[in-house]
Symmetry: C3
Subunit: 351 residues, 3 copies
Amino acid sequence: VVDASLGEIAALLGGELVADPSVRVTRIGPLDGATPDTISFLSNPRYRSQLTVSHAGCVIVAPAMREAAVARGGALVINDPYLAYARLSRWWDERVRRVPPTGVHPSAVVDASATIAATASIGPSAVVEAGAEVGEGAVIGALCFVGANARVGAHTRLAPRVTLGERCSIGERGIVHSGVVIGADGFGFAPTEGRWDKIAQLGAVRIGNDVEIGANTCIDRGALGDTVIEDGVKLDNLIQIAHNVRIGEHTVMAGCAAVAGSTTIGPRCTIGGSARVQGHITLVEGVNLSTQTFASRSILKPGHYTGVFPIDDNATWEKNAATLRNLHTLRDRVRALEKSLPPAAPKPLDE
Amino acid sequence: VVDASLGEIAALLGGELVADPSVRVTRIGPLDGATPDTISFLSNPRYRSQLTVSHAGCVIVAPAMREAAVARGGALVINDPYLAYARLSRWWDERVRRVPPTGVHPSAVVDASATIAATASIGPSAVVEAGAEVGEGAVIGALCFVGANARVGAHTRLAPRVTLGERCSIGERGIVHSGVVIGADGFGFAPTEGRWDKIAQLGAVRIGNDVEIGANTCIDRGALGDTVIEDGVKLDNLIQIAHNVRIGEHTVMAGCAAVAGSTTIGPRCTIGGSARVQGHITLVEGVNLSTQTFASRSILKPGHYTGVFPIDDNATWEKNAATLRNLHTLRDRVRALEKSLPPAAPKPLDE
Amino acid sequence: VVDASLGEIAALLGGELVADPSVRVTRIGPLDGATPDTISFLSNPRYRSQLTVSHAGCVIVAPAMREAAVARGGALVINDPYLAYARLSRWWDERVRRVPPTGVHPSAVVDASATIAATASIGPSAVVEAGAEVGEGAVIGALCFVGANARVGAHTRLAPRVTLGERCSIGERGIVHSGVVIGADGFGFAPTEGRWDKIAQLGAVRIGNDVEIGANTCIDRGALGDTVIEDGVKLDNLIQIAHNVRIGEHTVMAGCAAVAGSTTIGPRCTIGGSARVQGHITLVEGVNLSTQTFASRSILKPGHYTGVFPIDDNATWEKNAATLRNLHTLRDRVRALEKSLPPAAPKPLDE
């Protein structure tokens, strides 16, 4: 349990503390339901009404919210409350998280030719194969598989039950969640006489620094070259990254998104949940792809792109969908109407 | 192998047996392909034609089907044949399923501070960490990871290769299939100078009683509070439940569905396969979301909701999709036509 | 590292070698970036411009490309370059891939009643239960779970961390990637008094020969009969195959596709990524389902089928989606316009 004074927290985060610095908090929590021993924060103006009635001992707020926050109790006034919350959450986490013991658990199976840094931790029943390298402070969770000649950078953590395939690598300070599979074969076959002939996948996966990969996400190895995930990329759960894809730095992808083979996604893109990106195309830097949208062609201009059928009550949807099935006929009817009108009629607006 | 008399089965299920109670069956099977030693059932009227020609030794039917069933052989007449079949299937399963041995397998790694009930089973190479609790009759499958201070309720079964993260809990009589990840970090980052700063995920996952979770499904831990799955929820395979979501009791979700962060889904909802629910919204009790539909906003009225592009042959789809891309222009053209007509013309029906 | 002469490769693949057969190559690689010690190939005409400037020591090309290839260096001229590349890639892979040692790793837990062929390999910390059979030359990767009475055919490889459930089977020469779950319970419940009563899943999964299954894909066991995957099927990552599905031979499915229960997909179909097939329907042989398309009804004619909302910039999408929500009203307005016109006007083209 954390027990910290507001003075201590203000020293960590900066900003102006409008509260007794000796007051102690033992929880970080949302405004709603906060108690005097809770430190909370307000970043989304949508939750402003919760601020005035919150019993939190201290609320981290932006300067514009200073008055409203102070009117009800303690406040830490700071320019970016969300960023301050992020930092505080990590500081808090370091104090409560169980630190795995340094060294190799006796039940782990580590090949004699693997290189394990002195400060690394190899968990129970983990398997580390020949020639693999695990850096300083890195953690290989219980029941993980690290293939031959794979590399795990310093301070990177593999949660329990992760696969890092042969010759694949991840840089420093990464976080890989349970069930992730890095380096399965890409999906490549040559058609022949009604069958599919396997194309061996000879490449690997190279992952940069500060990358986080969500649970059960898959990143396939390249066919000839490598699949590449650049620095700072954040992937949510159950994402599919096919072979020879490249994801640019600081791009984020939400859960269940998928990228087909040989596609390049630029840096600082935002890919929505369950969105899908076609193979062999390019998305430039700064593309924002909406939830469930299928990018079927290259996108060469930064911006926000969408393609999703709007939800409706089922009866209304059925009527609209029925018309949609004949939409091109409807267009032809409109065109025929336009042609049938006298010359004074307005001209078509498109085509 | 099960070898049961019809009399024994009728005693279990109730209903009226119209058959020699001493006849024995050794299989439960579909009507189609059934043999005299098979017990079958008819619940979906769509399979009625299969009834009259089935060689099943006994068919479980509703009263309305009594005559048709008896005309061809034995019958067990009962009000809800599907429910009777469900019950029979479980009775059958108990007779054929391998029961894992009580106690801790010698290859498992169980922390000395974990509490394992005397009648629980810990499978080969499972890992159970400090402070974890495993209830009476619970089964932790081979190669599972149960994190520190996690709790598994009585008679809950974890199939092989499941992750139950630190401090996460599941109630009684649950079933968790292989590859499930409970308690990976939620996907939370604060943007800063073109990078993404991690928000530590300090909450946990709390799962009620009688919950079933399909293979490779992921349920993330909360950021501050907990992610909550209430009693009786059934989740299919490859589902994504993000942080701070709450799923109400007896709600079911089909495969590949996904719920984004901080959303509340009410009790007794039905979420179709590959459907997706936006973050920070609410679906009230009794919402039925169609397959592949994206619920982009709160749904505050029970009912059936849909948003999916209807399938067609590719050539027709291409023509309709091309028109769809200019749909607002088409609407403008219709409006122009309406305005150009003499006053006697009908007025627009919408807007 | 492979070091092969062009003569050796030509002997393997056939075709006409237009190069010094004693020249040696040590890499297979794409045209772009190839060095004189690289063998490359050209199959997609789209990359033809890369051919003329490639420094590859040898390029595998079709007869039509012979001149262009020879003008720049060595060439192997062959009828199907892509197929030749596939074969070469496998030959190459056999020379670089680490071969797992024959026999049972001491950390594996293999039941005494399991039958393990003499030339099979059981990896570290794998678990093989009672009555299971593992064929000649088969590989059970590290941390795999092979359930009671499951069967793995000769020369089939399970990558690390795979689940093959009780009584499930896979034929010969298969490849199963990390995280795959074969034989979890199908999703079957009978509704009763606002709750869901589990239907025990008594069937199994039967998989043919030459099947490849991508990472984290799930194939559920049947309720009464079996779920069946026929010979030569190729499944990509994160695919969901529900209970009692049958997939016909040589059908391929791309990543994140899903098939709901009791559906039959014919042989030689192509199911696009993130596509979804409704339950209890049939797709005949030779159906090509586009990416992200939902097959909501049976498809009884071979062909190419699509249903996906076209992507657009978000502002245009919003305007089109708004009109789409009232599409049936727009159709009514067009009909009203048609009726209001004098008899000379053209007749409606549909309905």
